[in-house]
């Protein structure tokens, strides 16, 4: 009986560990042979390699800070599929069924985007992004310890750098 209980605990433990990124992993299986979709998985080992890099710019600093606590990244993306709308609906449905909590959703004329999270003890353990355009579909899962503030700073820092580069271009052209 004890052995049974230990095995049960082991199963639950391993399932919980694998639960992160599981939704995207299921899509990997379903779309394994479909070449219209790009499937990418970046492991925690790669993230640990990044942290050894030296940050040059502010954007890079923010990026490396965000990456330092991540354990994995999984992406499924397609740029020209005819059924992007139905894929988006299916993914949203799967995300809701899997018990993710909606963080925010953005809808405009060109694209719909939805962010969902899985939180445990006040820590975001997984961030899912589903995006669907006219022919575009993206399902992205970031897992580990996620700092939303930090992630949102990346684009801001890049925007600032872009503007700085633009002003430099203007100066050199004059």
């Amino acid at each position: 009986m004890k052995k049974g209980i230990i095995a049960f605990v082991l199963i639950i433990g391993s399932m919980a560990a694998m639960a992160q990124g599981k939704l995207v992993a299921n899509y990997f299986d379903d779309l394994a042979d479909n070449e219209a979709y790009t499937k990418v998985s970046v492991s925690s080992k790669m993230f640990s390699l990044f942290t050894e890099l030296e940050a040059g710019s502010e954007a890079e600093k923010e990026f490396l800070k965000a990456v330092s606590k991540l354990k994995g990244l999984k992406i499924i993306a397609a740029d020209s599929i005819p059924n992007s709308a139905s894929m988006y609906k299916k993914a949203i449905n799967d995300v809701n069924k899997a018990g993710y909590e909606e963080l925010m959703s953005v809808q405009d004329a060109e694209e719909n985007m939805k962010f969902s999270i899985k939180e445990k003890n006040g820590v975001i353990e997984e961030l899912l992004m589903v995006a669907g355009g006219k022919k575009r579909f993206v399902l992205l899962s970031l897992y580990g310890e996620i700092d939303l503030k930090n992630i949102s700073k990346i684009a801001q820092a890049m925007k600032v750098e872009g503007l700085q580069n633009l002003s430099k271009l203007d100066e050199s052209s004059n």
Binding site: G4, A7, F28, M46, F50, V106, M113, F115, S152, I154
Partner: protein, 146 residues
């Protein structure tokens, strides 16, 4: 006919009913009582005395000697099945990771950077929408107040 003879013929009659399977509980109790009070060395006497004693034995929890072994067999089987499921899940996940894993650190860096930038832009877009909505709501409140 003496009392003793009467008793004997009554017991004989009851025994016949007992072996024929037609005796009731009261009659069976009577037979047991008889053999208890009148120790008899006949096989029937020994039998009924033993049957009579059985009732007095305190009820013990029945545990089959093979049951323990059976139980442990079940738990081993459960452990093996559980282990197989866990191994299959780990293997499946590892297969997934391997199949689409980016091996080149440079490529992995660029993909991660692009992915985080996409997420970051999306989050900022959502934030700016919510700021605009808040502004609109505040403006509406001011208009309604005036």
């Amino acid at each position: 006919m003496t009392n003793w003879n009467l008793m004997e013929s009554r017991i004989k009659e009851l025994l016949e009913k007992y072996w024929a399977g037609t005796s009731n509980l009261e009659e069976e109790a009577e037979i047991k009582r008889y053999f208890k009070e009148n120790p008899s060395l006949t096989s029937e006497g020994k039998y009924f005395r033993k049957v009579g004693e059985l009732k007095d034995v305190p009820k013990a929890k029945f545990s089959h000697p093979g049951k323990k072994e059976q139980k442990s067999r079940w738990s081993v089987a459960a452990a093996v099945i559980a282990g197989l499921i866990a191994a299959a899940l780990v293997f499946q996940d590892a297969k997934n990771q391997r199949e689409f894993a980016v091996e080149d650190p440079q490529e992995a860096y660029e993909i991660t950077r692009q992915a985080l930038l996409m997420v970051s832009s999306g989050l900022n877009e959502g934030k700016s929408y919510s700021k605009e909505i808040t502004k609109i709501n505040k403006a509406q409140e001011i208009v309604l107040e005036n």
